[in-house]
C-alpha cells in the first residue's frame, strides 16, 4: 500500500469539497446552530463553561457528519468516475483511506471554526482549559467514527440523499442504544449499552479521557473503513 495515492485521493476530495457550495452551506449551518447553543448556554447559565455547549455539538454532529460523507463514494458511483478510480492500480483500501482523510480534514476545519467560542470566553474570563481540550478530543473521535460509518453507507448507494438518510438513521440508532438497552435488559442490554455513542462521549467534556472510550471510537473507525473497503471490493467478484 502506498501513501502517495492515498494523499492524492484525499487532496482531490478536499479540493472538490471546497469547490462545491455544499461545503460552505454545511459549515455555515453548523456554526449557526452551535453558535446559537453557545450564546444561549452562556447567557442563561451565566457560567464560563463550555461543557453543555460542546455536548450539544456532539449531537449536532449526528446531523452534520452524514452531509460530509454522503457524496464521498455515492457521487463517484452515480457519475461513473469510480470506473476510472478502480481501473487504476490503486487498492480499494487506498481509495477508502484517501476519502476518509479528506472528510476528517473537513471535520477538523469545521471544529476549528468553533474555537471562536472558547477564545471568546478566555478573553473575558479564565475557563478551565482541560475539559475544553478533552471535549474537543471527544468531538474529534466521535466525528471520525461517524465519518467512517457514513463512508461505508456511501459505498452502498449511488444516491446521495439515500446515503444521508441512512447514515443519519444508523448514527441516531446507535446513539440511542442506551435508551433501548433498558427495554431488553440482560446480556443484550449490556451490549447495546456498551455500543451506545452517547455513553462514550459523556466523560470527555468533564475532562476525563478514558482509554475504553478512545478504543471504542477507534474500533468503530476501523470497522466502518473495513466495511467500506469490502463493499467497494465486492464489485470485483459480484
Amino acid at each position: 500500500m502506498g501513501i502517495r495515492p492515498i494523499l492524492a485521493i484525499a487532496a482531490k476530495e478536499l479540493n472538490s469539497y471546497f469547490a462545491s457550495f455544499i461545503a460552505y452551506a454545511v459549515i455555515a449551518g453548523f456554526l449557526f446552530v452551535t453558535g446559537a447553543f453557545f450564546s444561549l448556554s452562556v447567557l442563561l447559565s451565566r457560567q464560563v463553561n463550555l461543557r453543555f455547549t460542546l455536548t450539544d455539538v456532539a449531537i449536532i454532529l449526528l446531523f452534520v457528519s452524514p452531509a460530509i460523507t454522503m457524496r464521498l463514494l455515492a457521487e463517484e458511483q452515480a457519475s461513473g468516475t469510480l470506473e476510472l478510480l478502480v481501473t487504476s492500480p490503486v487498492r480499494e483500501l487506498e481509495i477508502v483511506l484517501g476519502k476518509f482523510l479528506a472528510a476528517l480534514a473537513f471535520l477538523i476545519v469545521m471544529l476549528a471554526a468553533t474555537a471562536y467560542y472558547p477564545l471568546l470566553l478566555i478573553s473575558y474570563s479564565q475557563p478551565d482549559p482541560g475539559p475544553i481540550l478533552t471535549a474537543y478530543l471527544g468531538l474529534f473521535l466521535q466525528g471520525a467514527a461517524f465519518i467512517s460509518l457514513g463512508l461505508f453507507v456511501s459505498a452502498l448507494t449511488r444516491n446521495q440523499v439515500v446515503a444521508y438518510i441512512f447514515t443519519f438513521a444508523l448514527l441516531l440508532i446507535i446513539w440511542l442504544f442506551e435508551a433501548i438497552s433498558g427495554i431488553f435488559g440482560g446480556q443484550l442490554g449490556l451490549v447495546l449499552s456498551y455500543l451506545a455513542f452517547y455513553n462514550h462521549f459523556l466523560d470527555f467534556p468533564k475532562g476525563v479521557v478514558d482509554t475504553k472510550d478512545v478504543v471504542f471510537y477507534l474500533s468503530v473507525v476501523v470497522f466502518g473503513l473495513v466495511l467500506a473497503e469490502r463493499t467497494l471490493e465486492s464489485r470485483r467478484w459480484r
Partner: protein
Amino acid sequence: MQPAIQVKNLSKSYGPTQALKDVSFEVFRGEIVGFLGPNGAGKTTTMRILVGYLPPTSGTVIVDGYDVLQDSLKVRRRIGYLPENISLYNDMTVEAFLEFMATIRGVPRGGIRDRVRAVMAQTRVEEVAGVLIGKLSRGYRQRVGLAQALVHDPPILILDEPTVGLDPRQIIETRQLIKSLAGDHTVILSSHILPEVSMTCRRVLVIHQGQIVAEDAPENLAARLRGSERIRVEVRGPADEVRRALERIPGVLAVIPEARDGVASFAVDCAVGTDLREQVAEAVVRGGWGLRELRPVGMSLEEIFLKLTTEEPDGNTADSGHRG
C-alpha cells in the same frame, strides 16, 4: 512470442441475460485490433473484463502474462483505459486531473509534469489546460479521456469508442494518434462505426450477440464475405438507356443507379469471380456515350457488417441486442 492479451472461453452473464458467450481471442504485442459490433453486442462488457472492472462469469483473461483476477493490480498498471462515454471529475481543471491520474497510476513524482505536458500535446488539449473539465465541450472531454489513458505510458491501451463525440477533423487526428501508438503499444479499440476500425486496425474482431462471428484483416473480411463483385461506372448519357444497356450484359446481377446531375453513375453488381469491366466499356462505347469512370470496388465494411449482424437464419433481421 507470448501474446499481450489472451482471452479464453470468456463468458459473462448479467442475471439471466448472457452478455458474452465463450469468447476467445489473442492480441499480439504492437497490434491494433478493432472490436466491431452494434451497440449491445458485448464490446464494452469484454473491455470492462479486460481492465478488471467487471469479473467474468467464467473463462480466463491473461494480460501481459498476468491473470486479470489473480494479479489485478499488475494488470491495471499495464493498461490505459478509455471507458465508453467517459465520466471525468468536473470540478477539476484538465491539468490537475491529469496530474491526479498520473499520481494514482504510479508515475514517479519527478516525471509527472513532463508526462502531463506530453500527453496534453499528444491529444491537443494544451489550450484548455487550466479550464474546469465541467466547462469543456464533448470533443475536448473525449480527448482529455484519451489523455488520461496515455498519461502513465501504458504498454496496453483499451479504448472504448475513442472517437465518439468528436468532429470530423478531430476524428482524423485521433485516428492518426492511435495509429502512431501501434508498434510500441498494443491497442484494442471498439466501435460500432465501420470506417473507424477499417482505417485504424489491421485486424478486426466482429462481435455480435456476445460472440465473435468473424476475425480477419478488414480487406480479407471484405473478400471473404463478398457475395458479388462490384464495378462503379460513370457515363455521360441518358441514364435510363445506359442502365438498360448495362443490364443486358451477361453476368450482371444488378445495376444500382447513383443519381448525379448530367452524368449517369451506376454500381454494377456481377457474379463472384467475374470481371466484366471490358464488357461494360464495350457496351458504353457501342451506345455512343462518354465513359468517364470505370473501376472495381470492394464491398464496403458497412455492407459486410449488415450481413454479419442483421442476417439471421430464420429471417429475423435487425436485431440490436440488449446491453453493452
